[in-house]
C-alpha cells in the first residue's frame, strides 16, 4: 500500500486524492443537473442559475454547520447521534424565549446546545460510556424534553430580525467588501507564510507557486460574490456556514487542539503516552458540536419560520453522511472540514436537483443512500488497489 498514488506526473497524498475525487464528483453532479434542467425557458439550464444556486447553498447551510461539528467528533473516534434532537430542542427554546429579546433568545439556543454537549461529552470522556450509547440515549431523551417544554405545539418566529437570519441576504455592497477583505487575507497569509519559511531556514515557495496560491482562491471568491449578488446578495445562513467552515478548518488544521483530536482518533494509546489529556479534548469536541447544533437550530428555525416538535429529525444522519462522503473515517483519525462541507454540498445538490426534476420522494431517498454507500465503496476499492 503506497501513500502517494501517481496520476501522470502528479503525485498526490491519498487524503488529497479523495478530496479531489469528491470535488470532481460534485462538478459532475452539477453539470448533470444543469443539462437535465434545460428547457424552453432556460436554454442553458436552471440548476446553476444565480437564484437556484443561492437556494442550494441555503439548503446546505444547516447540514454544513452540523457536519463541521460532527467531523471533529468523528475524528476523535466518537459519534454524536443526538444533534437532530438538540436542533429541535434548542430551536424550541429559542422560539419560546423570544419575549426576552433577540440576543438572549439566540444565546439561549446556543447555550442549551453547549450544555447538552458538555453533559454528553463528560459521560463519554469521564464515565467511559461509548458515545454511540450516550448520544443514542440523547436522541430520545432530548426529543422527549421538547415535547414537555412546548407541549407539542409549533411556535412561530415573531421577531423579524430572527426570521431574517434564515431568509434574508446581506447587501450586495457588503458582499463586495467581504470579497475584498478575503482577497487581502489570501495575499497576506501567503506572503507571511513565505517570510516564516525563510525565518525557519526552509526554502520559500517559488513565485509561480505563490501566485497560483493567491490567484485561484481570489478568482473563486470574486466569482462567488458576483453570482450571489445577481440573486440579491449572499444569503445570511451561507455567511454563517462560511464562517463556521473557515473557523473549523483553521481549528482542525492549524491548532494544537485539532492535532490532538487527530492523534486521539488515530491512536489513543500513543496520544495518551505523549502527554495529551485525552478526556479533556473529547469533552471539548462534544461541547463544540453542541454549540454548533445550537447555531444550526437558529438557522433552521429562522428559515422554517417556526419551531416544531419534530424539527431536526434525522439531521444527525445527514451530518454523518456528509462527513463520510467527504472522506472521514468512522474509525477516527481521518477526515477534513473541507471534505465534510463538500459532502454536505453534494447531499444538498442531490436534494435540490432531484426536486427541480420532480423526482418522486422515494427515488430521492434511494439515490442519496446509494451515493453514500458508493462513496465509501469507491474509497475502499481505491485504497486496496493503491
Amino acid at each position: 500500500m503506497s501513500d502517494t498514488p501517481t496520476i501522470g506526473r502528479l503525485k498526490l497524498r491519498t487524503s488529497a486524492l479523495r478530496a479531489y475525487t469528491m470535488l470532481l464528483a460534485l462538478i459532475v453532479i452539477w453539470l448533470f443537473f444543469q443539462w437535465a434542467t434545460i428547457d424552453q425557458y432556460h436554454p442553458y439550464g436552471l440548476f446553476l442559475g444565480a437564484v437556484n444556486f443561492s437556494k442550494l447553498l441555503q439548503q446546505t447551510a444547516v447540514t454544513g454547520v452540523l457536519a463541521v461539528g460532527m467531523l471533529m467528533v468523528i475524528v476523535s473516534g466518537n459519534i454524536d447521534l443526538s444533534i437532530g434532537a438538540i436542533v429541535g430542542l434548542a430551536g424550541g427554546v429559542a422560539a419560546m424565549t423570544q419575549g426576552w429579546g433577540l440576543v438572549p433568545c439566540l444565546a439561549a439556543a446556543i447555550v442549551i446546545g453547549l450544555v447538552i454537549g458538555a453533559v454528553q461529552g463528560s459521560l463519554v470522556a469521564y464515565v467511559n460510556i461509548p458515545s454511540f450509547i450516550v448520544t443514542l440515549g440523547g436522541l430520545q431523551a432530548w426529543r422527549g424534553v421538547i415535547l414537555k417544554l412546548t407541549k407539542g405545539a409549533t411556535i412561530p418566529v415573531e421577531l423579524p430580525f430572527f426570521r431574517s437570519l434564515g431568509r434574508d441576504f446581506i447587501h450586495p455592497r457588503i458582499g463586495i467588501a467581504l470579497a475584498a477583505v478575503a482577497v487581502v487575507a489570501i495575499v497576506w497569509t501567503n506572503t507571511r507564510r513565505n517570510r516564516a519559511r525563510r525565518r525557519h531556514g526552509l526554502p520559500a515557495l517559488s513565485m509561480a507557486a505563490t501566485l497560483t496560491r493567491i490567484i485561484i482562491p481570489s478568482i473563486v471568491v470574486i466569482a462567488f460574490i458576483v453570482l450571489m449578488n445577481q440573486a440579491g446578495g449572499v444569503p445570511i445562513p451561507v455567511i454563517f456556514l462560511l464562517a463556521v467552515a473557515l473557523a473549523g478548518a483553521f481549528l482542525t488544521a492549524n491548532t494544537t487542539f485539532g492535532r490532538y483530536l487527530y492523534a486521539i482518533g488515530g491512536n489513543p494509546d500513543a496520544a495518551r503516552l505523549s502527554g495529551i489529556n485525552i478526556k479533556r479534548y473529547i469533552l471539548a469536541a462534544f461541547c463544540l458540536m453542541g454549540a454548533l447544533a445550537g447555531l444550526a437550530s437558529i438557522l433552521h428555525t429562522a428559515r422554517v419560520g417556526a419551531s416544531s416538535p419534530d424539527a431536526g429529525t434525522l439531521m444527525e444522519l445527514d451530518a454523518i453522511a456528509s462527513c463520510v462522503i467527504g472522506g472521514t473515517s468512522l474509525m477516527g483519525g481521518r477526515g477534513t472540514v473541507f471534505g465534510a462541507v463538500l459532502g454536505a454540498l453534494i447531499l444538498a445538490s442531490l436534494d435540490n436537483g432531484m426536486s427541480l426534476l420532480n423526482y418522486e420522494n422515494w427515488a430521492q431517498y434511494v439515490v442519496k443512500g446509494g451515493v453514500l454507500v458508493a462513496a465509501v465503496g469507491f474509497d475502499m476499492f481505491g485504497r486496496r488497489k493503491g
Partner: protein
C-alpha cells in the same frame, strides 16, 4: 528404548532478515514432560508454531514425525486432529461464554443442527471431574481467575483427545497455590500417558516437573539432557553461552550526579486485584549513565516504567525524585514536564500514529513548545523535525512521509526523535530494538551511547541479554516484580544476570 511419539528433525524457519530456527532437533516420548528453555528470541515459540501448523509445511524446512510417519500440517486444525494441543500465554477462551460452551466451542454435540445442551453440560461435568476440578461448567469464563481459566484450556485440549499438550509459560499469571494445582494435574496427565512440552523461564519449576530439558539458543538446539543428570547452573550456562557480540562500541560514559530516583515502586495488576506486578522496586539514574533493567518476559519491567511515567491503569504507589526533590507524577504530561522521555515498547501500539506523517508523529509530544501554544506553525515544526530526522538519520523521502510506510528501524527512530524533541534529561527506553534488523540495531546502540555521552540519564529495558550487558554501566535484574540482583558493568556476566532473572538471588561474584 521405544520409538519416540514425536520427532522434529532439522527444523528451519526464516523470517525476512532473520533465521529464527536453524536445524532444530527435538523429540518427545509418551508419558513424558519435556521442558523447553531458552532466552527470549531463542526460537521456542516459533518451534511450537511450526508444530501447531501455524506455519504450514513449505514455510519451514525439516521433518515432523509423529508415530513413525512424517506429517505435514496445512493448518492448526490439522495438527489438532493429529492430537496436538497448544495452550498459549494469551488464553483463547471466549470470556462471555460458559466453561462448557468454551470447552466444546465449534464441536457442540448437536442433532439436526440444534445444540444438545444436556449432553454438552454433562460431558463437560465429566471432563472437569476427571481433572478433579471444582468448577461448575455453567459458570461464565469471565468469572474465573486466570489460573482456573488455564485449567479450562487444558480441559478443552483433553476433550479433543490431545495426546501432546504444549504449555507455553503456563504459570506466568498463577499464584503459588494455583501452580500446585496445575502441577498435580500435569502429573495425573502424565500417568494417563499424555506427552507434554513445558515451556518456562522459571527453572525451579522446570526441574520440579520436567523429565528432560532441551535448551534452545539462537534458533539451534544446544543440548537435551535428563533433568536428573544436570543442574540449574549448567542449564543457565547453556542458555546464555554466547559471546557478547562485538557490535557494542566501547563507550566512555562520564557518570555524573543522580538526576532521577524512584523508591518503592509498587504496581498492582489492574485485572487481578491484589496481584503485584512490581513489588517495592527502587533505582536511581545518574547523568551520563546507562542503567540497564534486565528481566524475562513478565518480570514487571514495562509496568515499572509505565507506572513511573504515570501511564499505568491500575493502582500503584511510588516515591519519585528529580534532582533530589520529590515530585508527583499523575499522568504522562507531568512526567514530560519533569524532563522524562519514554520510548515505549511496541511502537505500533504505543508509539506511532501510523496514518500520520513522520513530522506529526515526531512533534506530538512537544507540539506546544515547538509549534505554538494554540496556533500551530507547520514551518516551525518542519524546521525542528528536519533537524531531528537528520540527527537520527531517518531514511525517508521527506518528513511528510506517512509513518506506517517506514521500515521498523526507521519507525523506531521516529519514536526516539519524538522523545528527544521534548528535551528530556532522563530517557526511558523500553525494548528499543525489538523487531528491527541488525544494521538498524547498531545505529540505535550508537545513538544510546551518544545520548549518554551528552549527559542524558538513560534507563534501558531489554529482554535481549547481550544488549543490556553491552550497553549498560549498571544493571538491575527483575524477577516477578522484585529486584533480584544489581551489577556493575564489570561484575555482570551473562550467567550471573540470567541466574537472577530466573529467580535466584545474586550469585557470589
Amino acid at each position: 528404548m521405544t520409538q519416540p511419539l514425536l520427532e522434529m528433525k532439522g527444523i528451519t524457519k526464516s523470517f525476512p532478515g532473520v533465521k529464527a530456527l536453524d536445524g532444530v532437533t527435538f523429540d518427545l516420548n509418551e508419558a513424558e514432560i519435556h521442558a523447553l528453555v531458552g532466552e527470549n528470541g531463542a526460537g521456542k515459540s516459533t518451534l511450537m508454531k511450526v508444530l501447531a501448523g501455524v506455519y504450514p509445511h513449505p514455510e519451514y524446512g525439516g521433518q515432523i514425525v509423529l508415530d513413525g510417519s512424517e506429517r505435514r500440517f496445512a493448518n492448526v486444525r490439522d495438527s489438532e486432529h493429529a492430537g496436538i494441543a497448544i495452550i498459549f500465554q494469551e488464553l483463547s477462551l471466549v470470556k462471555e461464554l460458559t466453561v462448557a460452551e468454551n470447552i466444546f466451542l465449534g464441536r457442540e454435540p448437536r442433532r439436526f443442527g440444534i445444540i444438545n445442551w444436556e449432553e454438552l453440560y454433562s460431558r463437560a461435568q465429566k471432563l472437569l471431574g476427571e481433572l478433579r476440578l471444582q468448577i461448575d461448567p455453567r459458570t461464565p469464563v469471565v468469572n474465573l481467575g486466570i489460573g482456573q481459566q488455564q485449567l479450562v484450556e487444558i480441559a478443552k485440549a483433553l476433550s479433543q483427545d490431545a495426546r501432546i499438550l504444549v504449555l507455553d509459560e503456563p504459570t506466568a499469571a498463577l499464584t503459588d497455590a494455583e501452580v500446585e494445582t496445575l502441577f498435580g494435574i500435569l502429573n495425573d496427565l502424565r500417568a494417563r500417558r499424555v506427552a507434554m512440552i513445558y515451556i518456562s523461564h522459571k527453572l525451579d519449576e522446570v526441574f520440579r516437573i520436567g523429565d528432560r530439558i532441551t535448551v534452545l539458543r539462537d534458533g539451534k538446539t544446544i543440548d537435551t539432557t535428563a533433568t536428573r543428570a544436570t543442574d540449574e547452573a549448567r542449564v543457565i550456562a547453556k542458555m546464555v553461552g554466547r559471546e557478547v557480540d562485538q557490535i557494542f562500541p566501547e563507550a566512555k560514559h562520564d557518570r555524573g550526579d543522580v538526576i532521577f530516583e524512584a523508591r518503592n515502586v509498587t504496581v498492582e495488576d489492574p485485572s487481578v486485584p491484589g496481584k503485584l506486578l512490581v513489588d517495592r522496586v527502587s533505582f536511581s539514574a545518574h547523568k551520563g549513565e546507562v542503567l540497564g533493567i534486565a528481566g524475562l518476559m513478565g518480570s514487571g519491567r514495562s509496568e515499572l516504567l509505565m507506572a513511573i511515567f504515570g501511564a499505568h491503569a491500575g493502582r500503584k504507589s511510588a516515591e519519585i525524585f528529580v534532582d533530589g526533590k520529590q515530585i508527583q507524577i499523575n499522568n504522562p504530561s507531568d512526567a514530560i514536564k519533569q524532563g522524562i522521555g519514554f520510548v515505549t515498547e511496541d511502537r505500533k501500539r504505543y508509539g506511532l500514529i501510523l496514518d500520520q506523517t513522520i513530522l506529526k508523529n515526531m512533534t506530538l509530544a512537544c507540539l506546544r513548545r515547538v509549534s505554538g501554544r494554540f496556533v500551530t506553525s507547520e514551518d516551525a515544526e518542519a524546521a525542528a523535525g528536519e533537524r531531528a530526522a537528520n540527527d537520527l538519520r531517518i531514511k525517508a523521502s521527506s518528513v511528510f512521509t506517512v509513518a506506517g510506510t517506514l521500515s521498523g528501524g526507521n519507525q523506531q527512530k521516529v519514536v526516539l526523535a519524538k522523545w528527544l524533541l521534548t528535551n528530556p534529561r532522563v530517557l526511558f527506553l523500553d525494548e528499543p530494538t525489538r523487531g528491527i534488523d541488525v544494521g538498524a540495531k547498531q545505529e540505535i546502540y550508537a545513538q544510546i551511547n551518544r545520548l549518554a555521552e551528552t549527559g542524558f540519564a538513560i534507563v534501558l529495558v531489554s529482554s535481549e541479554l547481550p544488549e543490556v550487558l553491552g550497553l549498560s554501566d549498571r544493571i538491575i535484574v527483575l524477577h516477578e516484580g522484585r529486584v533480584t540482583g544489581e551489577f556493575t558493568r564489570k561484575e555482570a556476566t551473562p550467567e550471573a544476570v540470567m541466574s537472577c532473572a530466573t529467580g535466584h538471588a545474586r550469585l557470589a561474584a
